[in-house]
């Protein structure tokens, strides 16, 4: 199995994948409800944090600084983490990361693992790799459990099952947990998950997690979560394996004060999420005896090398950009063909894939800028999207592509006043086959997408410049 990021190497283009989702009224209702709710809560807690912009500025500067010195901070983390009793592994790509994790699980003789929600392991499709080798992963985050038991795919970075409502979740739990009765209040469903997982927390000896932050100065790891399933996986098993992208390192313990203020307010609209855990290596009589961190590259170094899109690596996976995105609002996450959905997915996924696949993603945005406005680490997502569109055009498109030919022709037209004026005349005269009573109601080819739901006024007889010239002449005459 070769994996770069989630399913995207074989995913449909965004505009095609979006179609069935746009027709799913229930899904769209669920997505709107969830994103509206988080956004409303976020708005309140961001407003009360009066130094929000200063925190964003600091976070962005810390991330920029870290990436500029990434080799040093990573090796510093490795050194301190090792001194604290941990073991660091390096993985070039998803397959290597999965092999390392599987090797460790086998080395410790495990047949099952308990997992905290981790984007990185979704990215590498670790669960599939483990299952193929006969190891059973139990997702312990409520939403990830819903996804796993429902044989579904995550559709959001923070609340991966937001596309399912309570009735749908109840059905999944009844079927997959083998229950005879179950209420349909969120409390009932949550209690069922608690009962289902508690025994596993007490029994399974290996935990697998991601990491929100790796602290270079101390060799510490920080994970933020809400349900306590994270703390279970971090402290109950004998072995803990954490998989983290190389961009997750921050220089100092003190830097956490910036991110711990930005992340919960951005992600769930809370002042602080219920639990933050920070720990360093192994601790005597408290938590796992063996702690491994797998540092994953998987295309991140190529993002680092692209100066204009390097800021993509600032991301702290809060998903505020998904919640505010008017495109995500319509489709939900599955249209993005990867576990990284929404605006951040639209820039992250194609870069990790080296632009070979997912070429439609940089275009899955109206460039409205809402994502940049809410981003706690100031990733200028529209700017990166435009940059990546440029790379798609330059690296992937043939010069004979109809769009490329059209764009080049237009550029030539705009290159001279006389060509532009001639084109205005030509368009006016040439539009007669599609105009009726001053309106265009059907256009051929790509432009048919425009007239599918919109009428268009016919091009008027006199462009502005013709009116201006006429007026100038009249005024000259009068003078």
């Amino acid at each position: 199995m070769t994996v770069r990021v989630g399913e995207s190497a074989r995913a449909l283009p965004f505009q095609k994948a979006a179609l069935p989702l746009l027709d799913d009224a229930q899904l769209r209702k669920n997505v709107r409800h969830a994103t509206d709710t988080i956004q409303r809560k976020r708005g309140l807690v961001v407003a009360e944090q009066t130094d929000w912009q200063e925190l964003r500025t600091a976070a962005s500067a810390i991330k920029r600084h870290t990436l500029k010195h990434l080799d040093t901070y990573l090796t510093q983390f490795e050194e301190r983490f090792t001194a604290a009793g941990g073991v660091v592994h390096w993985a070039s790509d998803a397959d290597e990361a999965n092999r390392i994790v599987l090797g460790l699980v086998q080395q410790y003789g495990g047949k099952e693992v308990i997992k905290i929600k981790t984007m990185t392991s979704d990215e590498t499709r670790l669960n599939e790799a483990l299952e193929q080798a006969g190891v059973h992963p139990y997702e312990t985050d409520l939403a990830e459990l819903i996804i796993q038991l429902g044989h579904d795919k995550p559709s959001h970075i923070v609340v991966p099952a937001l596309h399912k409502n309570r009735a749908q979740i109840r059905e999944i739990f009844l079927r997959e947990m083998g229950l005879k009765e179950l209420g349909n209040r969120p409390e009932d469903l949550t209690a069922a998950a608690r009962r289902f997982l508690r025994e596993k927390f007490l029994r399974v000896k290996i935990g697998v997690s991601g990491a929100n932050f790796l602290i270079a100065e101390t060799g510490g790891v920080c994970i933020v979560e809400s349900e306590g399933n994270g703390r279970m996986c971090l402290t109950m098993p004998e072995v803990l394996i954490s998989m983290a992208g190389i961009e997750k390192v921050i220089p100092s313990f003190e830097d956490l004060e910036v991110f711990l203020q930005l992340l919960p307010r951005s992600a769930t609209g809370e002042r602080m999420n219920p639990y933050n855990s920070i720990w360093t290596g192994t601790h005597e009589d408290d938590g796992p005896k063996h702690f491994h961190v797998v540092l994953l590259d998987n295309g991140r170094t190529s993002i680092l090398a692209d100066k204009e899109s390097r800021q993509t690596l600032h991301c702290i996976r809060c998903a505020a950009c998904l919640n505010t995105c008017p495109v995500y609002r319509q489709t939900g996450g599955h249209a993005y063909g990867s576990s990284y959905a929404g605006p951040i997915g639209a820039i992250f996924t194609p870069q990790v894939l080296n632009m070979e696949h997912a070429q439609s993603l940089p275009y899955a945005s109206s460039l409205c800028g809402a994502c940049y406005e809410v981003c706690p680490v100031k990733i200028n997502i529209p700017e990166v999207l435009i940059h990546l569109r440029g790379r798609v055009v330059r690296e992937q498109k043939s010069a004979l592509d109809p769009e490329a030919l059209g764009m080049k022709a237009m550029a030539t037209v705009f290159g001279s006043r006389h060509r532009f004026e001639a084109a205005q005349r030509l368009a006016r005269v040439g539009q007669w086959p599609v105009v009726s009573h001053g309106w265009v109601r059907h256009l051929p080819g790509m432009m048919g997408n425009w007239t599918a739901v919109r009428d268009m006024k016919a091009i008027p007889d006199q462009p502005f410049r013709a009116w201006w010239k006429q007026r100038q002449k009249k005024q000259e005459k009068q003078a």
């Binding site: 409800h33 709710t37 009066t50 130094d51 200063e54 600091a58 990434l70 080799d71 040093t72 990573l74 390096w90 070039s92 290597e96 390392i100 985050d141 409520l142 939403a143 819903i146 609340v159 099952a161 937001l162 409502n165 969120p186 949550t190 608690r194 997982l197 927390f201 007490l202 602290i215 101390t218 060799g219 510490g220 809400s226 349900e227 306590g228 703390r231 279970m232 971090l234 003190e254 956490l256 004060e257 711990l260 203020q261 809370e270 002042r271 602080m272 219920p274 639990y275 933050n276 855990s277 920070i278 720990w279 360093t280 009589d285 408290d286 938590g287 170094t301 190529s302 680092l304 090398a305």
Partner: protein, 229 residues
């Protein structure tokens, strides 16, 4: 394996235009990173504590304020109110703060009189923690602005699993431990940076189903805070 390490580091160095090994230059750059955000609070002690209590309430935590002389009474009242009989106390938690375990008092809601039995953390295994009615700890700090309690799992604060498995967590916070802002708490934690640290902000919760907040998923469902001073 070490081949991969070198390969990744090489790719990083090539991406950033060479090694960043010049420690002095790097530190100088780090020193001047903009940190214009609020690093100290501005509230007086009363307002700070009022904010702490208000925000704990917003997380559905139960807060009782008392003074040093009456901590044990306050703890006893909470245990009785919730009918907690089997209670485990963190190692190092001061004995004088514990109510007398053998005094029978009338139980909650007019039920039969019950006494509570205390056990120490060191004598309890995972199953005991799973089955007990609650645990008692002290803490390292409180943060008013976020309504958080910070544990460094030192004496009196329990090991990490200790404050996780039981259904009810009673935490004693001294008023002088409460700071206003997150940076002030991080400042106090500076000397404990490599200890296990847990921030607790209300009972465990989820909003994964239709964005409705449900309290108590895997961690304690109930958080009682006794604020002393």
């Amino acid at each position: 394996m070490s081949g991969t390490r070198e390969a990744v580091l090489k790719r990083i160095r090539s991406a950033i235009g060479g090694s960043s090994a010049d420690a002095a230059a790097r530190e100088a750059e780090r020193e001047v990173l903009p940190r214009e955000y609020r690093r100290a609070g501005s509230l007086d002690a009363d307002a700070r504590l009022a904010m702490f209590i208000e925000r704990l309430h917003e997380y559905d935590a139960n807060v009782v304020r008392t003074d040093a002389a009456r901590v044990a009474v306050a703890i006893g009242a909470i245990l009785q109110e919730h009918g907690q009989r089997s209670v485990i106390v963190a190692d190092g938690f001061p004995v004088e703060m514990l109510p007398d375990p053998i005094t029978p008092k009338s139980g909650a809601a007019g039920g039969p009189a019950e006494s509570f039995a205390f056990r120490r953390e060191e004598k309890a295994n995972v199953e005991d923690l799973d089955r007990c009615d609650g645990i008692i700890t002290s803490c390292f700090a409180g943060i008013a602005f976020t309504g958080s309690i910070v544990l460094t799992h030192g004496p009196g604060e329990g090991a990490r699993r200790f404050t996780l498995l039981p259904d009810r967590h009673l935490c004693v916070v001294r008023t002088e431990q409460v700071v206003e802002t997150v940076p002030e708490a991080m400042d106090r934690l500076a000397g404990f940076a490599t200890a296990p640290i847990t921030f607790i902000s209300g009972p465990s919760a989820t909003a994964d189903i239709e964005m409705m907040r449900v309290r108590g998923v895997h961690g304690p469902r109930f958080l009682d805070v006794v604020l002393v001073g």
